[in-house]
């Protein structure tokens, strides 16, 4: 039986000192308390109303953010192969450490930085740089983690003093240890603040790895893949519970170069310890077979984010190891320019077959005495001997007859003074001086005396090694110039640049270059048995010998040695330029480099020619024995 809660039968006791049985006195307070209960419940339910009914979307999103972590799957870059498909640049597996920033606290950064041996300030600066990005994107703070790093991270993951850390498996660049073809290949690194503001990298994001130099940069679009993403459900400790979305990375495409590893290796070896460049190209199509610049650098130092110390060392080095001398070194070509002057003279008719000059070891032009490199003089010199013996007086005379503007005209016709258009970044154009040029740049008149220096490849004239190989290779082809390129593209269809020279004139110049190597000329050291190598030596001065003596010989001011050659004499297949800075004489320093390279080329060609393996495969006897 349930009785009503009220107890009307209980009589109300009058006011007295002891009212143990009177409850009524508190009725008002109890009623007040009931209102309080209602108020509390309204207060609480309104809290839930606020969260659950008025803006559940906001909190739902937050819950999803908690739950779902998007981790990048970095796409491996495409491999870089040589012309025969041999791997030059590979990738290797590595781990990177990313910090998740959504709950990151600054004081958590220090233990991580210390544990991984990173300067605390650098990590902070790095996090600041990423502050413009959405916070759900994690930030990589160290690449190429060592075993020790990995152990450290695993041991401290999830501990309260440490931030949320995520290990990302990434394929990182593996460059040849020796720094082989380092300038040609370039290197990769994280896109910098400045680069992000350029048109080239406008679509990149902070933290993206890009090619920064050489082929890596030029062919970023091909080599760079598309990063994938893994969406995982994680619990509060960051343990993965479930993968809910997976977008695989699309690897970058491999890139086949026109470079021949064998030739590259030979060229690298012969330049080892020297300063200079070698370029070998196939004049029939413009394919670059080898490109060396020394001193080189180790591109792998850049892949994990170059240390500022290493970077300072590279930048401050007076030998400029980051400079690709093959396309960026602009130097006076010296006597290697003489075949071009000779051709200009023949073509423009300032000399004929009968022309000769007498060389007593020097000659005076416009009141100044110009020396020949041979003290005793060459005697009477015609065009052929002039090239073979590299007689300066002969070319002073011819150059004087031509005048600077005609020299410039032919120099430009063969491709000097402007970029060849090779598929590498930051090629330099060299300089072909002319009267126009001088007025434009110095507002001064050209002095005829200056022409005399330019005629032997000195003065204001500068070329890059690539330009020289390109120019001479095109001449050897009879006046056909294919744009040099380092990437083998079967679909490439070049329309070569052509110049109509009188074949007889061209033949005479080429015959001269043949003589340089094969008739006891200045390039005799480049002679190869059985190969009709034609060439021209060059020794370009950086300062007059008098000035040098006054200063005392210093390495930086020593003469540069050049050799440009091609082979065979008819239907050439390879054109090579070697530059040895401070090498003193083209004949001794540069010619052997070209010789070794050309010899390797023809040796390799000869050994491969009959394809013995191929022949055996198709023979019926072979099939029976198996």
């Amino acid at each position: 039986m349930n009785l009503p809660p009220e107890q009307p039968e209980r009589p109300q006791t009058p006011k007295g000192p002891l009212r143990r049985d009177d409850v009524k006195f508190a009725a008002a307070r109890i009623a007040l308390f009931q209102y309080a209960i209602v108020a509390v419940f309204l207060f609480l339910i309104s809290g839930f109303w606020d969260l659950q009914v008025r803006n559940p979307g906001f909190y739902y999103e937050q819950a999803e953010r908690n739950r779902i972590k998007a981790l990048p799957i970095p796409a491996p870059r495409g491999k870089i192969l040589d012309r025969e498909g041999r791997v030059i640049v590979d990738n290797h597996s590595s781990f990177s450490l990313m910090l998740l920033r959504e709950n990151l606290k600054l004081e958590e950064v220090r233990p991580v930085a210390e544990g991984l041996g990173l300067p605390y300030e650098e990590v902070i600066a790095r996090l600041k740089r990423f502050s413009g990005q959405p916070r759900y994107r994690p930030v990589t703070i160290k690449d190429e983690l060592s075993r020790g790093d990995l152990a450290f991270i695993e041991a401290h993951r999830g501990s309260p003093e440490f931030p949320e850390m995520e290990l990302i498996h990434a394929q990182r660049r593996l460059y040849p240890r020796s720094g082989l073809a380092s300038h040609l290949i370039g290197y990769v690194g994280e896109v910098s603040e400045a680069e992000l503001n350029t048109v080239e990298f406008v679509r990149k994001n902070q933290g993206d790895v890009i090619g920064k130099a050489g082929v890596e940069r030029q062919y970023n679009d091909i080599l760079t893949g598309v990063d994938g993403q893994r969406q995982v459900v994680v619990d509060v400790q960051g343990n993965e519970r479930q993968v809910i979305g997976l977008k695989e990375a699309i690897p970058g495409k491999p890139l086949r170069l026109t470079i021949d590893l064998d030739l590259q290796a030979v060229a690298e070896l012969s330049m080892e310890g020297r300063k200079g460049a070698v370029v070998a190209l196939d004049p029939r199509n413009g394919e670059v077979l080898a490109m060396v610049s020394q001193p080189g650098f180790d591109p792998s130092k850049f892949t994990g984010g170059i240390r500022s110390h290493d970077w300072q060392e590279l930048v401050a080095n007076p030998d400029k190891p980051l400079l690709n001398r093959a396309i960026q070194g602009q130097l006076a070509p010296g006597s290697t320019f003489k075949p071009i002057v000779a051709l200009a003279a023949l073509e423009s008719g300032v000399i004929d077959d009968a022309f000769d000059a007498r060389c007593p070891g020097g000659a005076t032009f416009y009141g100044r005495y110009f020396k020949c490199h041979l003290k005793g003089g060459h005697g009477v010199v015609d065009l052929h001997r002039g090239i073979v013996q590299s007689c300066d007086v002969f070319f002073y005379t011819v150059g004087n007859r031509l005048g600077i503007d005609r020299i410039a005209e032919y120099a430009e016709l063969v491709g000097l003074g402007r970029k060849t258009g090779i598929d590498l970044p930051q090629e330099q154009a060299g300089l072909v001086p002319s009267t126009q040029w001088k007025i434009r740049t110095t507002r001064q008149k050209w002095y005829a005396g200056e022409t005399i220096s330019v005629a032997i490849g000195q003065g204001a004239l500068t070329v890059t090694p690539l330009q020289l190989a390109y120019a001479i290779g095109g001449l050897a082809m009879g006046g056909v110039w294919y744009t040099p390129h380092v990437v083998a593209d079967p679909n490439r269809r070049d329309t070569p640049r052509r110049a109509a020279f009188n074949p007889d004139n061209l033949a005479k110049v080429i015959y001269g270059m043949y003589g340089v190597v094969n008739e006891g000329g200045t390039g005799a050291r480049a002679r190869i048995q059985g190969v009709e190598l034609c060439g021209k030596t060059g020794t370009s001065q950086l300062a007059s010998n008098e000035a040098l003596r006054a200063l005392g010989t210093s390495e930086a001011l020593k003469d540069n040695a050049w050799f440009v050659g091609f082979a065979p004499r008819e239907f050439p297949e390879i054109a090579v330029v070697a530059l040895v800075e401070g090498g003193l004489h083209g004949s001794t320093a540069a010619a052997p480099v070209v010789r070794d390279l050309v010899k390797t080329y023809f040796d390799k060609k000869a050994s491969r020619q009959p394809y013995p393996m191929l022949a055996r495969e198709h023979s019926p006897e072979q099939g029976q024995t198996q």
């Binding site: 049985d21 308390f33 809290g47 839930f48 606020d50 659950q52 009914v53 906001f58 459900v233």
Partner: protein
């Protein structure tokens, strides 16, 4: 006399409400802990509820006047035990609240002290002469409450010690506290506040600060509240479904089976579920108030209202905390939160209410 009291006369609606809430609590504990190291807590909680029912019956059948007579002794015993906890208790999560019992159970003495304080306050207030409590009476009661408060504060357990204050405060309120005294007490509180601040532990200060501005330190003290608000809010109107709340299941919600159990419930059952449970609590409280109104004497009224006020305080502080409207104090939600001491205490309190109810038939 005993014959008049039978199970029929128990407050069945109160019991049904309490069991309904406990049942939902057990379900939620199960959902929140499945597959974790706390996976066995749901059946333990069932045991606690059964034990609680038994304790409730026992308490209901001892005349509460006898309990009131024993109150001073119980009080002294409680103080001694609190002291013992401080000296020898087991440290869990950085505070000493538990006395280990055989069988792996632990015993949180401060929970039972609530019960003792309700009885003590009821006795003290019911024996007052005069119309309203004088200042002197207030001081005495204040001192009686302050002693266990200080001991519990030392554990440190701010939440529980505040519940003691709520018991004392509710008592004097129903005893007819003068508004002048109330104002004076409020002023005193404001004056003591700066001093009290210096007495707080660092984590307690941090909690206060983060309550005022939860975003200031999202991984620290504010973390719990933020995660709780996310859990509640993301539940929306209808909830994510049983065992499907990501905040709960992936443990972003801290201690989802104890202090934050109602957040977990709100995430999985939505606003509708919340409204249902709050209605159950509301009815429960109203039922207790009704028992107070029909109490046979002042002491009985004080006992019932003490229980009612304490439960309301728990609800306000716990649920208010979940939605970010109250500071994080670590007060369990009565009947729902996992915890033997808490469940037993609440059922024993309900036993007291039933006791008072049964006594009204005795005359």
């Amino acid at each position: 006399m005993i014959n008049y009291r039978s199970s029929r006369d128990l407050d069945w609606p109160l019991l049904v409400l309490a069991l309904a809430i406990s049942g939902l609590g057990i379900l939620q504990i199960y959902s929140a802990t499945a597959g974790t190291i706390w996976g066995d807590t749901w059946w333990k909680q069932m045991l606690f509820v059964v034990a609680g029912l038994a304790a409730m019956h026992v308490i209901a059948r001892i005349d509460y006047h006898r309990l009131l007579e024993a109150a001073p002794a119980l009080y002294l015993g409680g103080l001694a035990l609190l002291l013992a906890v401080l000296l020898f208790g087991r440290q869990v999560f950085g505070s000493q609240r538990w006395i280990p019992l055989p069988g792996g159970f632990t015993f949180q003495i401060s929970e039972f002290v609530k019960l003792i304080l309700i009885l003590l306050a009821a006795r003290y207030l019911s024996e007052l002469r005069g119309d309203r409590p004088t200042l002197r009476d207030l001081w005495k009661l204040g001192a009686l409450v302050a002693l266990p408060m200080a001991l519990v504060m030392k554990q440190p357990d701010l939440g529980t010690s505040l519940t003691y204050a709520a018991i004392g405060g509710a008592g004097v309120f129903f005893a007819g506290l003068r508004w002048q005294h109330a104002v004076a007490l409020a002023l005193l509180f404001v004056l003591v506040l700066p001093v009290g601040w210096t007495l707080l532990k660092d984590y307690q200060k941090a909690r206060l600060i983060s309550f005022l501005n939860p975003g200031s330190d999202p991984l620290g003290s504010g973390y719990q509240v933020i995660q709780s608000k996310i859990a509640v809010g993301s539940g929306g109107m209808w909830g994510k479904g049983v065992a499907r709340g990501s905040q709960t299941q992936l443990r972003f919600l801290p201690v989802a089976h104890t202090d934050f159990i109602f957040s977990a419930f709100a995430e999985e059952h939505g606003f509708v579920g919340v409204a249902v449970v709050l209605t159950l609590y509301f009815l429960l409280l109203m039922q207790i108030v009704q028992n107070a109104q029909s109490a046979p004497d002042r002491a009985g009224m004080y006992v019932c209202m003490g229980v009612g006020a304490l439960l309301l305080f728990h609800l306000l502080v716990n649920v208010g905390m979940l939605v970010g409207r109250m500071i994080v104090t670590g007060v369990p939600l009565p009947l729902m939160s996992y915890g033997g001491s808490s469940v037993l205490t609440v059922f024993m309190m309900l036993g007291l209410v039933n006791n008072v109810r049964l006594q009204r038939f005795v005359n």
